[in-house]
């Protein structure tokens, strides 16, 4: 049976990249699919041109091409990433990390109540932390792109989310919306409003910490679990 050659496999990777499949993990699955389908065509017609067979198979993906596949993969990986954040976040509600959470809430609460314009100080500080986080995400994204361009690394989707704090910009936007809709005067806050606000802000800080430090620390372990071929591509 006629098989797709290594050179043609390379061409298939190139073809998927040309059709907006940026990530290696998604490309790999599509390359194998296309190669299988082409080989099947060759079973009936061994002389059929590789490019012609490829375009026939690509057409079967419909008018949106590989877009549906990429979108579904992005959604699945984002879900996985959010689950990872949630799992880490949950550990801050149990001992020993619970002590850190409690201390942080106490500090935020104290600043809010004791420092002049405490509410604005807390909001401003959290906002700056998130801006810093977005900056680091941007920096990582740039470094990643350079490494990929230089062919030093394969672009994996989940790795991209882990290194660029996938949801950090969303979080920043979320906080920004809250700030816009905050009451103009923090002085009107009741004691329990201050506590509620401090708990919320503390958790925003913890989420930022988890995204920037906790998850990246376990990155290799996570990626090898999700991508069994990850060590081959490093």
């Amino acid at each position: 049976m006629k098989k797709v050659t290594p050179l043609q496999v390379e061409r298939l990777y190139q073809f998927t990249a040309q059709h907006y499949v940026e990530y290696y993990d998604v490309q790999t699955e599509l390359v194998d699919h296309l190669a299988n389908a082409i080989e099947e065509q060759w079973q009936e017609n061994p002389d059929k041109d590789f490019e012609k067979a490829l375009y026939e198979e690509f057409k079967k993906f419909g008018i949106f091409g590989f877009m549906n596949v990429v979108e579904a993969r992005e959604k699945a990986m984002t879900k996985k990433y959010l689950k990872l954040i949630f799992k880490e976040l949950l550990s801050f509600l149990f001992l020993p990390k619970m002590i850190m959470t409690f201390l942080l809430i106490t500090v935020v609460c104290t600043v809010f109540m004791q420092v002049p314009y405490g509410g604005y100080v807390v909001t401003g500080a959290v906002f700056l932390i998130l801006v810093w986080q977005a900056y680091l995400a941007f920096k990582n994204r740039k470094a990643r792109k350079q490494a990929i361009r230089a062919n030093q690394r394969k672009p994996y989707l989940l790795e991209h989310l882990l290194e660029t704090c996938g949801a950090s910009l969303g979080l920043l936007h979320f906080l920004f919306q809250i700030i816009i809709h905050l009451p103009g005067d923090f002085q009107n806050f009741t004691f329990w409003s201050v506590v509620g606000f401090s708990v919320f802000m503390s958790f925003v800080i913890i989420i930022g910490y988890v995204m920037l430090f906790e998850i990246p620390r376990k990155q290799n372990e996570i990626l090898q679990q999700v991508y069994p071929d990850y060590h081959l591509a490093m």
Partner: protein
């Protein structure tokens, strides 16, 4: 089959069921298996299969394994424990749905219908 869109709501169940019967499968193999089992009556489109597989993987129902086959990497899917349980539930749901449809299309007791 001209109305392939009829299976769309059941695609995940079909995948889970195929994987429950076998050990592990890759995407293309799934499309071929469905074609073979239904003697060509049902064709799973590529644009629907992979999103469904990725959704199941993201929900923790499937796990993956990579193998190098014929100069390229192949991604195999297999059921997780959660996927095995879900497969049983989904098949039961689909069977009930088919029975209800049958009853609606061709009632056993037409006088009561």
């Amino acid at each position: 089959m001209s109305n392939n869109n009829l299976y769309k709501g059941s695609l995940q169940t079909i995948i889970l069921q195929l994987l429950a019967k076998g050990d592990k499968m890759y995407g293309y193999e799934i499309t071929q298996k469905v074609k073979e089992l239904t003697k060509g009556e049902l064709t799973i489109t590529e644009g629907a299969l992979y999103p469904a597989l990725h959704k199941l993987e993201g929900s923790g129902m499937l796990e993956v394994e990579m193998q190098k086959v014929d100069n390229r990497l192949r991604k195999y899917y297999k059921l997780t424990e959660k996927g095995e349980k879900e497969s049983v539930i989904k098949v039961e749901e689909l069977t009930r749905f088919v029975e209800t449809l049958q009853e609606l299309m061709a009632p056993k007791n037409p006088k009561l219908a």
